[in-house]
Symmetry: C2
């Protein structure tokens, strides 16, 4: 396991590529706009002109792109990874995407003699940079074990969750927990502000007890300062929540809190706010809106 093809060199992807190179891997990259990755090429990443070039003659191919349609584009079809990767190559999609798409890719990969894992991450750009991502992996256990050193170059908390699609399902559970928690924190802070409390003091008082959460820790200061810049984009969170809701719907499982939070974010999207960070949900509680 030495030669890695990497597709999706955005903010997170770039940090992941750096950590892979630091661990001694040869990393080949492809992205839509070459000018955006000149820095990482200067640091030693090797540029490929097409997805097909990335796919060929590699030990492992890693993708972390935006939406399920982007995953389909790089994996499926004539110029895609599945048609062009050599037999025995590990293909690892780290995008948060549709669990059913992960299963579909796994099935197609098996037919071609490839080994597929779905391995979405949590921990954001900070975790990617520090090499402390949580990685949630679905697929064959032996394939997981074979790729473990590569995961360990990018993350700290590496979890094997079972069959293909289970990495994605676990990520869905993660996003469901985040959605309601973040909304609850926004409601608590908004209440505190409206009744005339010092919001910082409230967060200090309640943040370590039963009401404490990593969402509160991550977002309270941003919310108090009015900093709505994206750590995690609303538009990506909407994508994740929709996928989770779809999977729940299929199983006849109602998730009323998730549905409510999703609809609030969709309202924000309609108002042109989907490029803000998820903490901007607080704006929905601003009565001046």
């Amino acid at each position: 396991m030495k030669r890695i093809g990497f597709i999706g060199v955005g903010i997170m992807g770039k940090s992941m590529v750096r950590n892979l190179m630091k661990s001694g891997y040869e990393v080949y990259i492809y992205t839509r706009t070459k000018s955006k990755v000149e820095d990482i090429i200067a640091e030693g990443a090797i540029w490929c002109e097409t997805v097909a070039d990335i796919a060929k003659n590699k030990d492992i191919i890693i993708t972390i792109v935006g939406y399920p349609k982007d995953v389909e584009e790089v994996y499926l079809g004539k110029g895609g990874i599945i048609d062009n990767a050599d037999k025995g190559t590990y293909i690892v999609d780290m995008t948060t995407t549709d669990p059913k798409l992960a299963v579909k890719i796994n099935d197609l990969a098996l037919n071609k003699g490839l080994k597929s894992l779905d391995a979405p991450v949590t921990g954001g750009d900070m975790g990617a940079k520090a090499g402390t991502l949580t990685i949630l992996v679905g697929g064959d256990k032996e394939d997981f074990n074979a790729c473990l050193p590569v995961f360990e170059a990018m993350g700290k908390n590496i979890n094997y969750m079972g069959q293909a699609g289970n990495g994605q399902h676990t990520k869905m559970a993660n996003q469901i927990a985040i959605a309601g928690t973040l909304a609850a924190d926004c409601e608590a802070m908004s209440y505190a502000k409206n009744v005339g409390l010092d919001v910082s003091e409230v967060v200090k008082a309640i943040g370590t007890g039963a009401a404490g959460s990593n969402q509160l820790n991550a977002n309270a200061d941003k919310i108090i300062e009015g900093n709505m810049l994206p750590g995690f984009f609303i538009k990506h969170f909407i994508k994740d929540m929709k996928l989770a809701k779809k999977e729940a719907d299929i199983r006849g499982l109602e998730l009323p809190v998730l549905s409510k939070v999703l609809s609030m974010y969709e309202d924000m999207e309609k108002d042109g706010k989907s490029d803000l960070g998820t903490q901007a949900l607080i704006l929905k509680y601003d009565k001046k809106q």
Copy 2:
């Protein structure tokens, strides 16, 4: 500050009385049913026959009862604390109750030359036992300072939140944050179970990252084991959420997630489940229901 009158010697109150006695205070107790407090009387607490007896000749009177109507009963009216406490006595209500009632008691107390604080707690029976309660205090800052040693005998995280009622308002913010977070955790765990994941593994994988919360830590094992015993009763949580919603409504502040969670718990109350612990919200996601 030596002689303490204490009303509301339930599960939490008993632990608080023990910690006060451990710190050298003389503690006088009153409760409706004497037989339930024989143990703590044997340990040194002094029994009083009436609320009026508790109120007289004390340095500080502490109450932690059930509902706002219980608070009204012990404070207001002829046999109550306000009519019977000596001038200069500190009166401290640690019940989670209506912020407006806290302000009303404070106003009446001032008129009688008493000193009033509202000081609800978080941390539950475990925190009460260990003397690690979080205490959220509203009222005069000097009165807070005077009572601080007494609070420190019962808790660890003692917070002065501003004017009368602000202790209660901070507790409301705490309960709002808990409501949505706990519901989000139930939804995430229910999703995980429905898609066939190992729920314990999911909690382990996502519990330390962005989805992590003290609610998840406190409730995941209980939920997985099907343990619905009360750490915190649904009926008391409903009381708190209703108070919070009322205060939000007065200010024209909509809290859709709180409202949704409240209505789910109210459905459970109608089904006779209000003596279960709050983690029993998971039952609402059981499709066999």
